[in-house]
């Protein structure tokens, strides 16, 4: 029977061509949408790697301040924060936190391998403020003041790529003229938010005691932050007092405060804008195509009343007709899925989106297939029912 239906659809390929084309494109659209959605969900399910709760960030803009005074003023700010009973811990950092659009990077070389990584930076308390677990080695501390090479902390992703399965701890990597020693490994720090992918991360040390010229903190242009972890229950009144007192200390700085919890929400919103637009547009396309399918299947069924009557006369039951209409839709869907799959598979094969894991593609692939089969059968249900109700005696005698 299946072979018969294949033959029937194959021989009607000219009439079915447009439907087939629609299924093919729908499959590809669905695949892209599902890859996006599954990718976002799988990102969301992975651990963030740090704790943003009760943390405030003070963004510092010192463009108008005298360079020589900056480090001194920063230390004064630390003292001011210390005087707040709500502040549990604090840390200077250059890291972008919850700003998906902004990133800074570093090229690291090891054994003639050059890997580009994202770059964060923080001082000795950074891990404490953000609860970042160090899984091997240690976080930055005073020992690093005396070491000849600069200390660097990397995440597992970067370790895997840079050292190809070897342990990276204690090894020396080169970036430009600087040599770094890996002092610690962290699992992950997904600083752009839960919805973004897990990336390669390297963390540089910020040390306010270092000579001004030598301090990366000063030479880089923007993105300086004082992160303050507070006791649970601290509210916006703290923020206002904090900003006032800090501004009084650092008159030449422009300061801005933001609660990381708020920054996270807006970061997630930002990460969701494109997927939501994609979802709306493709949702509309799919509804549109489904309605079209439904109309065309219905019309084709009506056109084939005589054929259906004949099949009843030759021994098909009403249920047999019903399942024939359904099966035809599924066979057509199968043709479409096969061609669509060949096209869709090019996306992972081109490997331009290498950060998307194979599992995501596989799952999206399976779900797209199920989805197309689902839509096709839903669209064929009603026409199938109508076809099953056709009176063979009537259908065979109308011209």
């Amino acid at each position: 029977m299946l072979k018969h239906l294949f033959k029937l659809i194959w021989n009607r390929k000219r009439q079915n061509l447009l439907m087939l084309l629609e299924i093919v494109i729908s499959f590809v659209v669905m695949f892209v949408v599902l890859v996006t959605v599954i990718f976002l969900i799988s990102n969301y399910l992975k651990p963030l790697g740090f704790n943003y709760r009760n943390v405030w960030a003070v963004n510092i803009d010192w463009q108008n301040a005298e360079k020589a005074d900056i480090a001194e003023t920063l230390k004064q700010l630390e003292d001011t924060v210390e005087s707040f009973p709500e502040a549990v811990a604090y840390s200077y950092s250059e890291s972008y936190l919850f700003t998906p659009a902004a990133m800074s990077g570093i090229d690291l070389k090891y054994n003639n391998r050059k890997i580009s990584s994202n770059l964060l930076s923080g001082d000795d308390h950074f891990a404490e403020v953000l609860d970042i677990p160090v899984i091997e080695g240690r976080w930055f501390n005073r020992e690093d003041n005396t070491s000849l090479k600069k200390p660097l902390i990397i995440n597992r992703n970067l370790e895997k790529e840079l050292f190809r399965g070897e342990s990276g701890l204690g090894k020396t990597v080169v970036s430009g003229d600087d040599e770094y020693t890996i002092v610690g490994i962290v699992r992950d720090i997904r600083n752009s938010g839960e919805l973004t992918r897990s990336k390669k991360i390297a963390v540089k040390r910020i040390n306010l005691d270092a000579p001004v010229d030598d301090n990366a903190f000063i030479t880089e242009n923007f993105g300086k932050r004082l992160l303050i972890k507070t006791r649970p229950g601290t509210d916006a009144r703290f923020e206002e007092r904090l900003l006032k007192q800090l501004s009084a200390v650092a008159k030449d700085f422009r300061l801005k405060t933001i609660r990381l919890e708020d920054a996270r929400i807006s970061a997630n919103k930002q990460s969701m804008i494109m997927p939501v637009i994609l979802l709306i547009i493709s949702g509309f396309l799919i509804i549109n195509v489904s309605l079209g399918f439904f109309g065309v299947i219905w019309y084709n069924t009506n056109k084939r009343r005589a054929e259906i009557g004949l099949r009843r006369a030759l021994g098909s039951s009403a249920k047999g007709i019903y399942s024939q209409i359904l099966s035809e839709a599924l066979v057509l869907a199968t043709f479409g899925i096969i061609i669509g799959a060949i096209l869709a598979i090019q996306i992972p094969l081109m490997n331009v989106l290498s950060f998307i894991e194979t599992n995501v593609y596989v799952l999206a692939f399976i779900l797209s297939i199920l989805f197309i089969y689902g839509i096709s059968s839903i669209c064929a249900l009603y026409p199938g029912k109508i076809a099953a109700n056709i009176e063979p005696a009537v259908a065979l005698h109308e011209e």
């Binding site: 494109i25 729908s26 803009d61 030449d252 056109k303």
Partner: protein, 416 residues
């Protein structure tokens, strides 16, 4: 004849309610999405307050600088000094303004936290951009020269900070500084990125060292200039003059040795960013890409509509056969079908316009983009109708061709 066409078309549409519904759904939603996108593009680059003189305004915003060793810096990176020296000195334009890009400042009043966008600018800014003043006026070049601490605010700031009371003469505290409000203007959409801000103050109040002789500022984002041409015909001359200035740039930052950029329409700037690797504007290229994206989006709805149209025609094949047998030419029949198709597309277009009005107001009120005010103006409307006709054409050609090929004899015998 035409009236007869209309009558028949209308009857046919009513006779096949399912097909009509499916067609209308597909057409109206496809057009809806295209209208929203058109409105968005129009909102970004079209003529609209405060850029009412948009076709005479040219701006210098994004630049690309390269070093000998191949390094480069790209974006809104140039300094006030650079713009002052190479743009303000242009002879052809009527006026030139140099402003900073907006930066966010936080301020508190009565235990409430406000986050406002602040822009430093000069007196010419208010002459080039056409703000609608609800109260007071903009600051003058004299105010800027004397660094008077005055500010122009938006209606939104007045609402939040001054609780909607008259604000002119009142003071607004931003950071360490206090400014006397001298004007209140209508809100500006963030998509109008150059004039956009919540608060505007004289650029001389900026603590930055504006005249430090470097092309690239260490602020981010840096500064931009906007020039007003006396007439549209002056535009090529202004562009040429700036090109000449650009070729004579004195590289004071040491390592940079080449610069790309221009005073140009904002749409040209966008095309330079996306299509011209920041070097030269490529507006036709950008338009082509947009057009192709539009086609890509329209593929599925078009195939769908073609499919439905063919079914619609085939269902009437016996009617067509009879008409042909009684002497109707293929031409009249195709004409009938085209009228039908145009009617349904325009009908879909009208539904889409109404839906778009709803969707646009939802997007405007959602607050995704501050002060977004997408509207359905005549420009958007006629472009939408143009798209609708194009869509109708695209989906009608193949079915019409198929229809004209139907052989009356075969049709009447009931064959395919």
């Amino acid at each position: 004849m035409f009236k007869n066409y209309l009558k028949i078309a209308w009857k046919i549409l009513l006779r096949h309610k399912l097909f009509t519904f499916i067609s209308l759904f597909g057409i109206s939603f496809t057009l809806l999405i295209l209208i929203v996108i058109t409105s968005f593009i129009d909102h970004t680059v079209g003529r609209q307050a405060p850029e009412n003189r948009q076709n005479r305004i040219l701006t210098a915003t994004y630049f690309r600088l390269t070093t000998e060793s191949g390094g480069n810096t790209v974006g809104p990176v140039v300094s006030y000094y650079f713009l002052d020296r190479y743009v303000r000195s242009l002879k052809t334009p009527e006026a030139v303004t140099i402003s900073s890009f907006h930066k966010n400042v936080i301020t508190y009043k009565d235990k409430k936290k406000f986050n406002f966008a602040l822009k430093y600018t000069d007196g010419e800014f208010w002459n080039i951009y056409d703000f609608k003043f609800l109260e007071g006026k903009g600051f003058s070049s004299a105010d800027v020269e004397q660094a008077t601490p005055v500010a122009v605010i938006t209606a939104d700031v007045r609402k939040k900070y001054f609780e909607n009371q008259s604000a002119v003469g009142e003071y607004i505290q931003l950071g360490e500084n206090s400014y006397r409000v001298i004007g209140v203007v209508d809100n500006v959409s963030l998509l109008r990125i150059l004039p956009y801000s919540d608060v505007w103050v004289p650029i001389t109040l900026s603590k930055a060292n504006l005249m430090e002789p470097k092309i690239v500022t260490n602020e981010f984002p840096g500064y931009f200039a906007a020039v007003l041409a006396r007439s549209r015909s002056d535009i090529p001359a202004i562009k040429a003059e700036f090109r000449k200035h650009l070729s004579q740039v004195e590289f004071t930052d040491g390592h940079f040795n080449a610069i790309w950029g221009g005073v140009e329409r904002y749409s040209e700037t966008i095309s330079r960013v996306f299509m011209g690797s920041m070097k030269e504007p490529n507006l036709p290229g950008l338009m082509l890409v947009l057009f192709l994206l539009m086609l890509l989006f329209m593929i599925l709805p078009t195939i769908n509509l073609v499919n439905i149209n063919i079914s619609r025609i085939m269902e009437r094949s016996s009617e067509i056969g009879v008409r042909k047998a009684f002497g109707a030419s293929s031409k009249t029949l195709v004409g009938q079908f085209i009228v039908e198709n145009i009617i349904i597309t325009l009908l879909g277009g009208i539904i889409a316009v109404f839906l778009a009005l709803i969707i646009l107001s939802i997007i405007n009120n959602s607050g995704i983009i501050p002060h977004l005010h997408l509207v359905m103006n005549w420009r958007v409307f006629y472009k939408s109708m143009l798209i609708a006709v194009f869509f109708g054409f695209l989906s009608g050609v193949y079915p019409a061709y198929k229809m004209s090929r139907l052989h009356p004899a075969e049709v009447l015998r009931g064959g395919e």
